[in-house]
């Protein structure tokens, strides 16, 4: 390539872009052309990111609107269900076969297309947001979203269909108090729980040398460099708020500041090995970590595959999160989705799910069916089912459920305050 002398390498950039179209020297015409480019930039500046909530009805108008919506729906014989991987029962012979869904199809005639497409709340939200903003179908009638930022966003943006309160018989009868009318969805207007889990402390008792009971154990200098914390702006802050003895649901900004200070003290003392996104189980099993923030189901599963870890709900209390079934407002088969949501609240169906999933079932009565299955089973199956029934991680006793708190629900005004406090801690 021929090379033209350029006075300044930085100035060479636009000249280089234009090379071949014009002479290399910046003439007046080129200046105009560049002006045109910035004119284009201005034109683009005018079009912001579209989005923004379309105002939805509130109060009793919302109830009427929901009733009116459901009154004009006709039942369909099809349903598309978007869920997370490994989050439903599978038949022993065929992994892509789900007995509970087969039973649903048999009883209702509704055919279910089950897709394990949700890997994370944020990426799934990013995937469906443009269609929902454009009022188009996202291809799913039912989806499972964790309570917290993205569920709140879906509601604030009016992307969810209000549920048909007249079709929640099983739910009203069998749902655990933990998932009835939770702080993030009073009156279960939009969601019904799929499964829940606790965020507490997982540890290796051989390495810690003593039982762990409190969040304050994460400040113990004896575990310096062997402590794992979560790198997220829900579990980390809400756990820290629990740690300072406050219920996150009713926490104030002053509490957040105290919680942030608690975390900073821990980090700046060099106690934290790393803030983990979700890959903490391997180092915890390998002994790189002695003690870590952990999700109940992960510890149960790690132990099922040979680890000997303990999980504890600290005495100060701990966050419980819930993955929720909800119906996008553009669902094509909302009646089928509604029918399915209530269907899984029958204790025998909930038992089928709980036996595979190992998180907290929203239907406490499922325990009788699992106990019966355990009595009929043999060998390894029997042992694992019995472990399930007695596990406080699957059926937390009342003494523990009293300690569990939902995440703080943040308004759009509070969100930046929250993020600015906690993000610099784990993004250090």
């Amino acid at each position: 390539m021929s090379h033209n002398p350029v006075p300044d390498p930085v100035a060479a950039l636009p000249a280089d872009v234009l090379r071949g179209l014009t002479s290399p020297r910046l003439s007046r015409r080129d200046a105009l052309r560049l002006g045109g480019v910035s004119g284009l930039a201005l034109a683009l500046a005018a079009c912001g990111v579209s989005g923004g909530a379309q105002a939805g009805p509130t109060g009793s108008a919302a109830v009427d609107a929901a009733a009116a919506f459901w009154a004009k729906q006709t039942p369909t014989k099809l349903m598309n269900f978007a869920n997370w991987p490994l989050y439903i029962d599978v038949s022993a012979t065929n992994k892509s076969n789900h007995p509970s869904i087969d039973l649903f199809t048999k009883q209702t005639g509704i055919k279910v297309t089950y897709s394990e497409v949700i890997q994370a709340n944020d990426s799934f939200f990013g995937q469906i947001q443009p269609q929902l903003a454009a009022d188009q179908s996202i291809g799913y009638d039912l989806m499972v979203i964790t309570n917290g930022i993205y569920l709140d966003k879906l509601r604030q943006l009016n992307y969810l269909q209000a549920l048909d309160q007249s079709k929640m018989t099983n739910f009203n009868q069998n749902a655990s108090p933990l998932v009835k009318s939770p702080s993030y969805d009073r009156g279960n207007q939009f969601t019904m729980a799929w499964q829940s889990g606790m965020t507490g402390i997982g540890y290796n008792p051989k390495l810690t040398g003593r039982p762990i009971t409190s969040w304050q154990d994460l400040q113990d200098p004896a575990f310096k460099g062997k402590i794992g914390m979560f790198a997220d702006n829900q579990d980390l802050p809400n756990s820290a708020i629990c740690a300072i003895g406050v219920n996150p649901e009713s926490s104030t900004q002053a509490d957040w500041q105290n919680a942030a200070n608690w975390l900073l003290k821990q980090r700046d003392a060099g106690l934290v090995r790393k803030y983990y996104a979700q890959d903490y189980i391997a180092p915890l099993s390998a002994g790189d970590l002695w003690i870590s923030m952990a999700w109940s189901g992960d510890i149960f599963q790690a132990n099922a595959s040979g680890a000997s870890l303990e999980f504890v709900i600290p005495k100060e209390g701990a966050p419980i999160w819930t993955d929720n079934m909800c119906i996008p407002k553009t669902a094509v088969n909302p009646v089928a989705a509604m029918t399915y949501m209530d269907f899984v609240y029958q204790p025998q169906i909930a038992a089928m799910l709980a036996e595979s999933i190992n998180y907290v079932t929203p239907v406490p009565a499922a325990v009788t069916y699992i106990t019966a299955d355990a009595a009929n089973a043999t060998g390894a199956d029997k042992a694992s089912l019995q472990a399930l029934v007695t596990s406080p991680l699957i059926f937390p006793p009342a003494s523990e459920t009293a300690l569990l708190h939902h995440y703080r629900v943040l308004t759009t005004a509070e969100e930046p305050v929250w993020n600015k406090l906690f993000e610099p801690i784990y993004q250090a």
Binding site: H3, A12, L44, D232, R267, K274, P283, G287, A428
Partner: protein, 288 residues
């Protein structure tokens, strides 16, 4: 007359798909991101253009540590890559004989495995109680609480490893083009081997070094995978921050502003470097 015009315009027509591609997938998105970077609002209420340049100031103030750290990691990894790659490329180019292709293939071989898996395997090898550290600890060569993972060393090591071929290959290409007759002439004129290296090989390898440095430094500084997988406390790079702002916080203006600060920093660095190195070839490469 007509034919001559057609002939003269032909290169432009041929380049048209490339231009369209660039405009559609680079220029327009860049301008859109530039526009977003000065907007205010949130995902629920929508973002509006308010020419809020303060986004840049806030972004820098909040995350200057991560910016500086990213540039430092990128620089160190680039220097390490250069130190490792030059002798390797030199040896393959001058002593590789008929095995040159196989040797280059060996360099590339690990890179047929997914980036993430390769990095993750470092986790396995360097684990506190893993195959490397356990014997060192039991022989008493390092203290019991010594660890590599979750430190600066692990992240920079990962970056160096992952970007190594981008340094080896351009240097190899530059060295391979050197006419052996030049080295023979140097010897004929009583030039020592060191002189030949200094006066012939090094200057002629500069275009390769230049390209290699660019191909390593720019992506290494913007990388976020190595820090995510191998890093710990105080090893977050700016790429991780941008990812969080964009995908987790849905704060598009801040994410866009941070991206442009990074882009500006890298461009200034690259052009300063081009000027310092100051060869025609180098500038051509920067432009091309």
């Amino acid at each position: 007359m007509h034919g001559r015009w057609a002939a003269r315009l032909a290169p432009y027509w041929l380049a048209l798909p490339g231009w369209l591609w660039l405009v559609l997938f680079f220029v327009i998105p860049t301008l859109v991101m530039l526009s977003i970077s000065t907007q205010t609002g949130d995902i629920v209420n929508g973002f509006t253009q308010t020419f809020h340049w303060q986004n840049y100031v806030d972004g820098w103030n909040q995350f200057s540590t991560q910016f500086i750290r990213s540039i430092m990691y990128g620089l160190i990894a680039t220097v390490l890559c250069l130190a490792i790659s030059f002798p390797v490329a030199y040896w393959i180019a001058f002593y590789g004989g008929k095995n040159k292709s196989s040797l280059l293939f060996l360099i590339l071989l690990p890179f047929f495995v997914s980036f993430v898996i390769r990095t993750q395997s470092w986790n396995f090898i360097l684990s506190d109680n893993g195959m490397v550290l356990t014997p060192l600890k039991s022989w008493g060569l390092v203290p019991q609480d010594f660890h590599i993972l979750a430190t600066d060393v692990a992240v920079i090591g990962g970056l160096t490893y992952n970007f190594l071929p981008f340094m080896v290959l351009p240097i190899y290409v530059a060295l391979e083009r050197i006419d052996p007759a030049l080295l023979e002439a140097s010897a004929d004129l009583y030039g020592s081997k060191v002189t030949a290296l200094r006066r012939i090989v090094l200057p002629l390898s500069l275009p390769g070094v230049f390209a290699g440095v660019l191909l390593t430094f720019v992506p290494a500084s913007a990388d976020y995978v190595n820090s995510t997988i191998l890093g710990g406390t105080n090893t977050t790079m700016i790429g991780n921050v941008i990812q969080t702002e964009f995908f987790t916080n849905l704060d598009y203006p801040t994410a866009a502003a941070l991206s442009f600060i990074l882009m500006a920093g890298l461009l200034i660095g690259v052009f300063a470097y081009a000027r310092a190195l100051g060869t025609d070839d180098a500038l051509d490469m920067a432009g091309a």
